[in-house]
Symmetry: C2
Subunit: 440 residues, 2 copies
């Protein structure tokens, strides 16, 4: 790949080249943009990239950039920066913004408080509509959206009502806000997890919600466009966990080698060690394998049947839980559903397996003198393994949630590995019984 | 489970009981709500449930409900209803709404056009700010949000500018819109896929965007709160596909038995048939297995190592593609990254595997007279299988996208099954070679 000439890139070109650029080239490309282009470019960077960039650009520019940002964006950058840089970054801010930023830093990044902007339009119940409009007109803010709702607060910012800008304009100018405002308000507790906040937005069709503390005092607002990012982020985390990785917390192409190795390797090593249960299980049936090598031919097929149905079931349940479609107390309903489903799928797959095995034997003749017996043993084993895989896969997320763990940790590879070992025992037992019956 | 008395449920109780209720009980519980409660309850139903409910309630009520909905919600209901009911539903609408609804029905449900509401505030460039405010004040609309932006259009609704309600109020009353409006507008083509629309919202922090046709004529607006649902929906689809199911398109607990059986069974049968490659592979090495039963003990362990790393890699790449972090042309960068990652992970797992095998042998003594030889064979095989699994898993999504298929179809079970068969060949080859070296 040829390095582009970073001194003359457009916003689009810089965006394209960004992931492949060195830190120096990024800074160089960025500072060569016009102020307007740079602003646009900066607003589209992830918090992670923005922090890195801010830390790499010369001090003078750094201050200028930080001062152009609202406090929630600054807080994101501080959180992404190494601990020892926090003070330096905060020192570059204007005192009022520094105060707002420090207040935001007290929140967990994944809480409603970490998501909100503290800049909202405060109104008093005693104001008239005309006074409120005048007041709002004078507010300067980079967050244009916040101006569409005014929040009516009492002492200590206790939230008592909401009034939309449109309602203000449409009301008689002398009407008091207390007679105008909506007092039934959906609010978000400041310590609510962002995933739960996103569920509220998914249920209610709203563009902006107020965040309050335990006393009902207004702390800030969260807007729907922030929630779009949250939903993406949470889904990404869940999907990566389901795939058997720790959540990457950064774009795939930007995760460093050692971090990626750790996030993928830890789970894989754990799964490998769990996999030794399959070695032990195989060892226990060594005699059978020695006497009847044909049994071993179907081992990968049969255990993967269990693994596939199991990871399918667990993925469905994990996602349904994340969407709040299924709760902990629904476990028995899910058991009943998945039992019937396991029987249905098991029957389908058993029939398909018997037919495919007989067909395969017509070409390979490897199934011995009694192919029908062996095919029946394979079919019976598939039925049992699939039923077990379905139940185990669907229940593991419940078990994890019950223990306070993330149900998404019931990853496809984990379920497959767990079902592999038990699937072997089922196979040898069921196939052994069926073949014995035929022999008798 | 006892059936609740559906004649006296609150909104919350009805919501809780909903999934378990029969169609009759749903209608009964719904019509017993107060009008206000019913309106709230109805607005939270999925399009699927809303359609079912509307079709089940008596004709008189049905008309009342349909007439209370904006055209985009009616269009969703019509799309969910069986073909033969479409005319009947449309017939219950007022003529103007019917026209709007029919226009929306021309769009694919997953397109920007299927997502938008056609009700937006049309303004003329020649209006003054005061005239525009007066005009907007008179607009009655159920979608309160649309009033926050006015769209300035020319003949045939060609979009020429946007002006926010706030800008109107803050400008001199006699100023013409053409001097006031923003003309650099991010627009969405009417046939853009909703997933791409959600990417625009994820990049830009916006609450509302206009939808235009190929000639730049305004068709409607899409708001950020609709996008929250889209992002959830798209993530759910991808996750279900990664888990090896067809997308359910409905909440887990509400999918009927036969539909669920089909959506899960089709993939499982396909995977089972693919699994016969493992049977064939095992058959080819029957002689080796007969001579050296100890080889077979490690088969499930080693192929699941390949399956696990493969499904991990494919899940990461599929999600990165969905987020636009990785594009088709990045394939070579991904190959390079995953090759190094595969070597790293393979080395880690090989070392862990050798140590665990030797430890296991201390207790079981099943690894024959030369446990170190066998352990080396296992380690070497793990290294190769993991490298192969990583590369295959990360490339399959690219291959699928290249062929115009959905990369998410590179499901964990599919990758695992594909890697199983090739993993066996790698295992027997590598282990055979290593054991031969020791023997020589």
């Amino acid at each position: 790949m040829t390095t582009p000439d970073v001194d003359s890139l457009s916003v689009v070109e810089l965006t394209e080249a960004w992931p492949a650029l060195s830190d120096e080239d990024r800074v160089q490309g960025f500072v060569m943009l016009s102020w307007e282009d740079a602003e646009e470019f900066f607003s589209h960077l992830s918090a992670h990239d923005a922090a890195e960039l801010v830390l790499n650009i010369p001090e003078y520019d750094r201050q200028r950039w930080l001062r152009s940002l609202p406090p929630d964006d600054v807080a994101d950058i501080v959180q992404e920066a190494p601990e020892e840089e926090h003070e330096a970054i905060l020192g570059l801010l204007e005192p009022s913004v520094r105060e707002e930023t420090v207040a935001l830093l007290a929140y967990d990044e994944d809480d409603a408080g970490g998501l909100m902007t503290p800049r909202y339009a405060r109104l008093q119940a005693g104001m008239t509509a005309a006074e409120a409009i005048d007041y709002l007109r004078q507010q300067k803010s980079q967050n244009a959206e916040i101006i569409y709702y005014g929040y009516v607060v009492e002492a200590e910012d206790r939230l008592v009502g909401v009034v939309s800008f449109r309602e203000l304009v449409m009301s008689p100018p002398e009407q008091k806000l207390r007679d105008l405002m909506t007092t039934e308000i959906v609010t978000i507790p400041e310590d609510m997890d962002q995933e739960e906040v996103s569920r509220i937005y998914a249920h209610e069709d709203l563009l902006c919600l107020p965040v309050v503390d335990a006393e009902g005092c207004m702390k800030g607002i969260v807007t729907a466009d922030d929630i779009v990012d949250v939903v993406d982020e949470e889904a990404t985390e869940d999907m990566q966990k389901i795939g058997g990785t720790e959540a990457l917390d950064a774009p795939y192409l930007q995760v460093g080698f050692l971090e990626m190795l750790r996030k993928r390797g830890v789970w894989l090593i754990l799964l490998l060690l769990l996999g030794f249960f399959t070695v032990e299980a195989m060892g226990r049936y060594e005699e059978e394998l020695r006497k009847l090598v044909v049994l071993s031919l179907f081992i990968p097929l049969i255990i993967s049947c269990g693994g596939n149905t199991g990871s399918q079931a667990s993925t469905l349940v994990v996602r349904a839980m994340a969407l709040d479609e299924v709760r902990l107390r629904d476990w028995w309903r899910v058991v009943k559903r998945e039992f019937v489903m396991g029987l249905g799928l098991g029957t389908l797959l058993a029939v398909a397996g018997v037919l495919a095995a007989l067909l395969w034997n017509m070409f390979s003749s490897r199934m011995g003198s009694e192919p029908m017996h062996m095919a029946t043993a394979v079919g019976g084993s598939i039925l049992c393994v699939v039923l077990w895989g379905t139940l185990a896969g669907s229940m593991l997320p419940f078990l994890l949630r019950r223990c306070g763990a993330d149900p998404a940790s019931a990853s496809a590879p984990l379920v497959a590995t767990l079902v592999d070992a038990s699937g072997l025992v089922i196979y040898f037992t069921v196939a052994g019984l069926i073949l014995q019956c035929f022999a008798a």
